[in-house]
Structures are given as structure tokens and as C-alpha cells.
């Protein structure tokens, strides 16, 4: 029985310029303690998917059109605001991309750290403060005791992200959703943050959903990977399958684009064309305009994710019909 079971999640944004289909029928599952990576470009819908689950999408102009997201017996998309609030921060925690703006500049770090414990009635103030201090130490902030009374602007980007992680994990949640946690940080700090998340995860047994556009990040970290494009999952499988046995042209193209994998001295490979305009849905596969293997079939029939064996699914019609090995 999976911990989190998402089915046909669909979120559209109704804007002045049309309806943007940010997430278009996404389904996946997360097991207890598992690490799932969601990979995709900006605009692929990866962040919106997770934020929809927690009800953090501004509605209007966003709207969850359909779908279910079952978490331990509760459908997150159809429960009351109160129920959702008891789950947020307590059983499912989320950290965001930009640590510079994600912390409240007007409150002390300590007050923000103890908040999840207080809101969910897990500790009294005194005990919460002790736990906050321990947490701050555990995430690697030097001199935690004196720094804890400081304000966010006194911390560097990397340190703020550590604080975010501490804040998210202080309630020992079942799932941690990390939305591009390292994108806004220096390369040297990125590795440290990922190490930290991994270490905490092992200690607490938390499932982690890691959202990123960086293939390098997921390779060392995740058990399974969902590749998203144009608001849909186009391929899903174990990490080794995704990397060594890509079954979707987009995934294959992403692998090819990794600079480190390419021959020296040659022009870098880039995927031709531009990401799709999500307010103008196409009839067939959304990757077709950029795919070197596309045929008439691809532009006329909308593909569905299909199992091709051993927990590996793909949404490429040609692969499904076995006339393409990308």
C-alpha cells in the first residue's frame, strides 16, 4: 500500500491569455521511505504537481480540475481546509527553491523553527526550543546556540536552506517534498545540502520527493525518477533504468545534453525547438515538434503512460508499439 497515491492530477490556470494546462493528468505513487525524483524543464509542471497536492496553488487563477491524491487514507484534493492544515508541515513537509525569500524576514529563526511543533501541538514552547536547537545543530549550523536568535538576513543562502530543512524535518514528517532545493545555491553548497537531506532521510525514514531540472542531482540520490514534459509524465522508472535504458525520446535527448557526457571539442548537443506553450494544447504528443523520431502518428494521437515491464513506464507511442528504441 503506497504512502502517497496520486491519480490523474490535473491543474489548470485560468488566465487573461487563456487556460494554461500546467499539470495534465499526472499519476504516480510514493512508497514509505522511498526517494522519488521528478525531473523536467521549467514549465513542465513538476512544481505545480506537488504544490497542488498540498493546496498551495493560488486558486484563482489556478484550479484543480480533477484527480485524487491519497495520502494514508485521506484524499488531499478533496478534504477540508482544516484536515489539509493538519497534514501540512506535520506529515508532509515542503521546502522551496529560493531560501532567500522563503523565510520570514521579520521573525527570528528560533520562532520560525518552533512554529511547526507549536501549530500541531507536538510540544510546549520550552521543549520546542530545545528541539529547535538540536535540529539546527543537526543540519550543520555552527554555533547554533547563539545563532538561533538571529534573523534570516544574518544567514547566508546555504545556511538558510539548512534552516528550511531543519524547519521541515522538525516534526519528523512522513514525506519531504524538496522543490529545487539546490538551484539557487552555489555548486559547492549544493552537494552539502543534498548530503544533508540524504542523511536526515536515512535517520528519520522519511520519503523524499526531489523536484529538479538537474539530472546530475537525481542520479546519486533517487530510487525512482519521473520525467515530466508539457504537464505530463513521459517516462517513469528506477534510476538505473532511466539513465541506462531510456525509453522515451525526450529522456534520451536529456541524457545526450549532459555536457560531461559529450565528446570534447565537438559542438554541444541541445534539444532543438522550444518548450511548449501550455495554453495551446496539441492534439498528439507534446514533445513531437522537437522529436527527431516523430511520425504522423505522434502528432495525431495523444499518448498515455504505459507499462513496458519492471515498473518502467513510457508515454511514447512508438516505443509502446515497439517500433522505436530511442
Amino acid at each position: 500500500m503506497p504512502l502517497l497515491d496520486v491519480n490523474d492530477l490535473t491543474t489548470y490556470f485560468h488566465t487573461r491569455n487563456g487556460v494554461v494546462r500546467a499539470v495534465d493528468g499526472v499519476s504516480f505513487q510514493v512508497e514509505k521511505g522511498e526517494t522519488l525524483g521528478i525531473v523536467g524543464e521549467s514549465g513542465s509542471g513538476k512544481s505545480v504537481t506537488c504544490m497542488s497536492m498540498l493546496g498551495l496553488i493560488p486558486q484563482p487563477p489556478g484550479r484543480i480540475e480533477r484527480g485524487t491524491a491519497n495520502f494514508d487514507g485521506t484524499d488531499l484534493l478533496h478534504c477540508s481546509q482544516k484536515e489539509l492544515q493538519t497534514i501540512r508541515g506535520r506529515r508532509i513537509a515542503m521546502i522551496f527553491q529560493d531560501p532567500m525569500t522563503s523565510l520570514n524576514p521579520y521573525l527570528r529563526i528560533e520562532d520560525q523553527l518552533i512554529e511547526p511543533l507549536l501549530i500541531h501541538g507536538l510540544a510546549d514552547k520550552k521543549s520546542a526550543r530545545q528541539q529547535a536547537l538540536a535540529m539546527l545543530d543537526a543540519v550543520g549550523i555552527q554555533d547554533a546556540a547563539s545563532r538561533i536568535r538571529g534573523y534570516p538576513h544574518e544567514f547566508s543562502g546555504g545556511m538558510r536552506q539548512r534552516v528550511m530543512i531543519a524547519m521541515a524535518l522538525i516534526t519528523k514528517p512522513d514525506v519531504l517534498i524538496a522543490d529545487e532545493p539546490t538551484t539557487a545555491l552555489d555548486v559547492t553548497v549544493q552537494a552539502q545540502i543534498l548530503e544533508l537531506i540524504k542523511k536526515e532521510q536515512q535517520e528519520l525514514g522519511t520519503a523524499v520527493i526531489l523536484i529538479t531540472h538537474d539530472l546530475g542531482v537525481v542520479s546519486g540520490f533517487c530510487d525512482r525518477i519521473n520525467v515530466m514534459y508539457g504537464g505530463k509524465i513521459v517516462e517513469s522508472g528506477s534510476t538505473s533504468d532511466i539513465f541506462y535504458n531510456p525509453q522515451h525520446p525526450y529522456n534520451r535527448a536529456l541524457q545526450n545534453s549532459i555536457p560531461a557526457m559529450q565528446a570534447k571539442g565537438k559542438e554541444l548537443y541541445t534539444i532543438p525547438g522550444m518548450p511548449p506553450d501550455m495554453s495551446r494544447p496539441s492534439a498528439g504528443c507534446s514533445f513531437a515538434p522537437r522529436c527527431e523520431h516523430a511520425t504522423d502518428l505522434c502528432t495525431s494521437e495523444p499518448p498515455e503512460l504505459q507499462d513496458i515491464g519492471q515498473a518502467h513506464t513510457t508515454a511514447c507511442l512508438r516505443v509502446q508499439r515497439e517500433n522505436l528504441k530511442p
Binding site: 488566465t15 521549467s42 514549465g43 531540472h213 545534453s257 541541445t270 534539444i271 522550444m274 518548450p275 501550455m278
Partner: protein
């Protein structure tokens, strides 16, 4: 950033690129959609028309007194009633509107002129001159303005009275010069008070623009400082200036009405809405219409101006769009 991470939503679609949406066109579209702003604009438009053109069609003037008809309620003959001196309220309101709008416009132009010039020069020249000029503004800001305007108007009134007396007794002229003089000083006093914030806003814009590259391009082409200021900076500063101007006009109308209410603004027998409200307040026990009509019309005008100003601000500043 490589191609793949450019967001589709931020790139203009092909047909948009062809039309080349200018800032003004976009702003106009947005303003057009704002119903309240449009309603406000229409109200103002009609009011202005009424006040400036209307009086030509009226039989009764704003200053004809007929004591036998004093304090009559609205009737077929006197559409909005009469005041304590038997003057037709309707004409007084229209004429008062004319004066109120005129003062607001004139004072705005004065403050606009001084403010834009001061701000542009200060921002463009920069350095020590800028610092000094801003210090002057800061000191002036600290002064209690309304108080000064009041004093100035008292002074003006006296001066006007003396000059008029002198003219009448010394030269035998029977003039209204006190009235004209008073009005003139009113524009000046208010304008001189309101230019400060305009100067600050303009200076801020100019400072921003200066850093942008096209100004360097102008300089490297050898354009004179004056030319750069007049032909390149000032047009680009227009946006915030327009917004602030539309918000200044109601503020100025308010100030004029305030002064007139205290007896320091427009002087009888001329009327302005402030004066009418003052008279109305004095007579309100017996004839509440004297207060209600000018009061409501004044409030509605301010209402419309504010909505229009808000609408313009939303339309011209892309950052404040709601979605």
C-alpha cells in the same frame, strides 16, 4: 541560461511580436477594462462640460441676489434651491465647479512645472548638486505646509484688499482686482506646496534612467545636456508623472475647498465648492439642501478622480497587475 529553461510564458507569441504592443497601447487596453475608472472618467467629463459650458445657458447668474427668495427649497424655478442671499444654487454650483476645476488645473500645472524641472535637473546632474537640492526638499518637507498656505492666503487677502482700496480711492478704478489677485495667489500657493513630491518622484525616475544604456548612447553621440534632458529624459519620466498628477488633482481640489471653507480661499461673490459647503454648513439647520447638493457633488467628483487615478496607475504600471 540555456534554451531549455526559458519559460514559454515569458516569450511573446509570434503574432504579438508582429503587432509590437507598445506600453501605451497596453495601458489603454487595461484602462478600458477597468469599469470603475471609466465610470469616473465619464462623470468627470460630464461635470467639466456642465461647469464650463452650462453657465452660458442659464438665465440666473451666480451672483444675482434676490432677498425675497432667500432660502427657498428646490423648485421648478430654482432647481437646487436658493441660498441665504437669494442666489440660485444651481448656477452657483456650476460656477463654483468651474472655479474649483480651474484652480485645481492651474495649481497642478504650477506644481508639475516646478516639480518636473527640479527633479529632472537634480537627478540628471547628480553628485553634490543633487544632494543639496534634495536637502532643500527635505527641509521644506518638514515645514507644516497647510499652516503656511493659510498664512500666505491671509497675507494675500490683505494685500489684495489694500491694492483694491488703493486703486479705487487713489485712481478711481472700480475693479475686481482683489478677487483676481486672490485667485492667482491661490494657484500659486497650492502649486508651490504640492511640487515637492512630484520632484522626488521625477528625480527617482531620472536616476533610474540615467543608469540605463540609451542615455550613455546619447551622451556618446554628443548630444547636449539640455537636449538629453528635454528630448529623452522627460518623455520617459511621463509614466509616473501622469499617475501622480491624476492623484494630485483631487488632493488640490481638497486643499482649495479646505481653504475656502476657512474663508481663505476663493472669496465671495465668486463661488467654489468649498465656499458653497461652508455656506451650506452654516445654514444647514433650516435648509439642508444647501449643504447636501454641493457636498455630494464634491464627494462624487473626488470619487471619480480617485478611481480614474487608481485605474491609470494600475494600467501604466505593469507590476501592479492583478494576475
Amino acid at each position: 541560461m540555456d534554451n531549455a529553461s526559458v519559460n514559454a510564458d515569458t516569450l511573446p507569441s509570434p503574432d504579438q511580436l508582429e503587432k509590437g504592443q507598445s506600453l501605451w497601447l497596453d495601458a489603454w487596453h487595461r484602462l478600458y477594462k477597468n469599469k470603475m475608472a471609466l465610470a469616473g472618467a465619464m462623470f468627470i467629463g460630464s461635470m467639466v462640460l456642465l461647469c464650463f459650458i452650462g453657465p452660458f445657458f442659464l438665465e440666473k447668474s451666480y451672483s444675482d441676489q434676490d432677498l425675497s427668495q432667500a432660502l427657498k427649497a428646490p423648485s421648478a424655478e430654482y432647481w437646487l434651491g436658493t441660498d441665504h442671499l437669494g442666489r440660485d444654487q444651481f448656477s452657483r454650483i456650476l460656477f463654483g465647479g468651474r472655479i474649483s476645476f480651474l484652480v485645481a488645473l492651474a495649481a497642478t500645472i504650477v506644481s508639475l512645472f516646478i516639480g518636473v524641472l527640479y527633479g529632472t535637473v537634480s537627478g540628471y546632474l547628480g553628485g553634490k548638486i543633487d544632494v543639496l537640492m534634495m536637502r532643500i526638499i527635505d527641509t521644506l518637507y518638514a515645514l507644516p505646509f497647510t499652516i503656511f498656505v493659510i498664512l500666505l492666503m491671509v497675507f494675500a487677502k490683505d494685500l489684495g484688499d489694500s491694492v483694491e482700496t488703493w486703486l479705487r480711492e487713489g485712481l478711481g478704478w472700480d475693479t475686481d482686482i482683489a478677487l483676481q489677485w486672490n485667485l492667482f495667489l491661490l494657484f500659486g500657493a497650492i502649486g508651490v506646496v504640492e511640487w515637492l513630491t512630484m520632484a522626488r518622484i521625477v528625480r527617482g525616475q531620472v536616476l533610474n534612467l540615467r543608469r540605463q544604456e540609451f542615455i550613455e548612447a546619447c551622451q556618446s553621440l554628443g548630444l547636449s545636456t539640455r537636449r538629453i534632458i528635454v528630448r529623452h529624459m522627460i518623455p520617459n519620466v511621463l509614466g509616473p508623472v501622469i499617475v501622480y498628477t491624476t492623484l494630485t488633482i483631487p488632493a488640490i481640489m481638497l486643499l482649495e475647498a479646505f481653504l475656502s471653507f476657512l474663508g481663505l480661499g476663493v472669496q465671495p461673490p465668486m463661488s467654489s465648492w468649498g465656499l458653497l459647503i461652508k455656506d451650506g454648513a452654516e445654514q444647514m439647520e433650516e435648509s439642508s439642501w444647501m449643504l447636501l447638493y454641493p457636498g455630494v457633488i464634491f464627494a462624487l467628483t473626488l470619487f471619480s478622480l480617485n478611481f480614474l487615478g487608481d485605474g491609470l496607475r494600475d494600467a501604466l504600471d505593469p507590476k501592479t497587475s492583478k494576475d
